[in-house]
């Protein structure tokens, strides 16, 4: 018995996905905000600055330490803990600009060794290595 020939319903386009660089909610979108943003009340500017610049300095120091830790990892064996209790080990290669992906080689997975791989950072819970 022949199955009836059907054609799929045509579509104009696919749904648009996230733009990948912002959180969205375009200000010129369908539903523009109803009132203009209230300008923030300025506190004592000098005290505010020093608190802010302290924070910024601390942030910069932490960021520099993190970037140096990534540099130190290059070429080393790193052990990653992923979701659902999965652990994998690999040689760390590099990360991309937003630290969204790790480029690794010789990735030891439960189903074999992958010569080259990209690990999504959103899939990684933690990682550890010995320098």
């Amino acid at each position: 018995m022949q199955t009836p020939v059907t054609i799929p319903v045509p579509v104009l386009r696919l749904p648009r996905g996230p733009d990948g660089f912002s959180r969205g909610f375009a200000p010129d979108g369908r539903r523009a905000p109803l009132k203009p943003e209230v300008p923030q009340i300025q506190e004592c500017p000098i005290a505010q600055e020093s608190l802010e610049s302290q924070e910024q300095r601390a942030r910069a120091a932490l960021r520099e330490r993190y970037l140096r830790s990534l540099l130190a990892m290059v070429g080393h064996q790193v052990s990653f803990t992923l979701h659902e209790g999965v652990r994998v080990a690999a040689h760390f290669g590099a990360t991309d600009l937003d630290v969204a992906n790790f480029y690794v080689s010789q990735l030891q997975t439960p189903i074999g060794v992958q010569a080259e791989a990209l690990l999504r950072c959103s899939d990684i819970i933690s990682y550890t290595f010995k320098p």
Binding site: P8, G17, G24, R30
Partner: protein, 350 residues
């Protein structure tokens, strides 16, 4: 020529989609929010699936998400022990409500003045959104983690489901009115205000109860374990999805299985009809949401009807999209500015 369902895939999440909710119909159309284990719930235009924005702030998997009726506010429940209320127009976080354990479910009242939350701490909490600093009212009684909590009977009552029970509470007195026991884990619950119907899924069963008395109305058995089901606003159909990755559509009156669709690459965790009943959305372990037409072939949203007389001419022309083509190939064919998907002569399978 018979038409075949073309689901619209909404990508963007990187982990399983565990909950989704539609808003009511607003002057700007209706909206859809999805809860995902990646911690980044997303707001989409309901009829097209177009991404509008991502609510950033949670530090753990988001287990529940909801929109208020006019889609001006969103609420989310997460594994970081907080529920958050968001401005759904700007995407800004309005309130963080601290809990003592993973929060699984959130629901606004009709007037958006109160938020109901429930989670692993087994307590139902009612927050007055006009007094965010005030302590919430708490209702205890559940003996296992709360999976779903909903306002019902014009916000005068509360329905809550844990692993093996569904309970009805009176809002004013904060006491239990009635409860139902199940010998299988309750996977989902949906409340239909018009007709006061409660849709409960457990095991392979899709059961319908009165939301007022909790008395059973009817139930159907599906071919596989069902994780979520939704009743059409006009109560003609219901859709359900679960562990076999398929979507099932049943006639509500006869219980006859009308259609079933493959498409997802993982178990389906949530299914909901849109407020106008023209489409239903499914969220899956595969990290995608898919939109499906209730009436296949109707022109609606991104689906464009092809009339039977135009068939032979249409098939040779461009302006057709095909699900056999992989998502990547379709992405290459569409550009930001083009409205149509062009393809060569279709490969019709006999």
């Amino acid at each position: 020529m018979a038409m075949r369902q073309t689901p619209l895939t909404c990508s963007g999440h990187t982990r399983p989609v565990v909950d989704l909710a539609f808003s009511g119909i607003t002057p700007y159309g209706y909206f859809l929010i999805s809860a995902c284990k990646d911690g980044k719930p997303m707001l989409r235009q309901g009829d097209t699936g177009d991404w509008i924005g991502t609510f950033l702030g949670h530090k753990g998997a988001v287990w529940g998400a909801t929109l208020n009726k006019d889609a001006s506010k969103a609420a989310t429940a997460a594994a970081d022990f907080t529920a958050k209320v968001w401005d759904a127009v700007s995407g800004d976080e309005l309130m963080t409500l601290a809990h003592k354990h993973i929060v699984k479910t959130v629901d606004f009242t009709q007037d958006s003045n109160y938020l109901l939350t429930g989670g692993q701490d087994k307590l139902l909490r009612i927050y007055d959104l006009n007094k965010p600093e005030a302590e919430p009212k708490e209702i205890s009684g559940h003996t296992s983690g709360i999976k779903k909590a909903l306002w019902c009977s014009e916000d005068k009552q509360i329905l809550s489901a844990d692993d093996k029970t569904v309970r009805l509470w009176d809002h004013a007195t904060m006491t239990e009115v009635k409860s139902l026991n199940f010998n299988m884990s309750v996977s989902s619950m949906e409340y239909i205000p018009e007709g006061e119907i409660l849709v409960i899924t457990y095991g392979r069963s899709i059961a319908f109860h009165s939301a007022v008395s909790l008395d059973p109305i009817k139930s159907f058995e599906a071919p596989a374990t069902i994780n979520s089901a939704s009743l059409h606003p006009e109560k003609e159909f219901l859709v359900a999805g679960g562990e076999d990755f398929k979507l099932y559509k049943y006639d509500y009156n006869s219980g006859e299985e009308l259609e079933s669709y493959k498409g997802h690459f993982g178990p389906i965790h949530c299914v909901r009809f849109s407020p106008d009943g023209e489409l239903y959305a499914s969220g899956s372990e595969d990290g995608t949401l898919r939109l499906w037409q209730t009436v296949v072939g109707k022109t609606y949203g991104l689906w464009k009807c092809v009339l039977p007389e135009e068939d032979s001419a249409e098939l040779a022309k461009p302006k057709l999209g095909f699900p056999e083509t992989t998502e990547e190939e379709l992405e290459e064919m569409t550009s930001e500015n083009s409205d149509c998907i062009y393809s060569s002569t279709p490969d019709v399978k006999a």
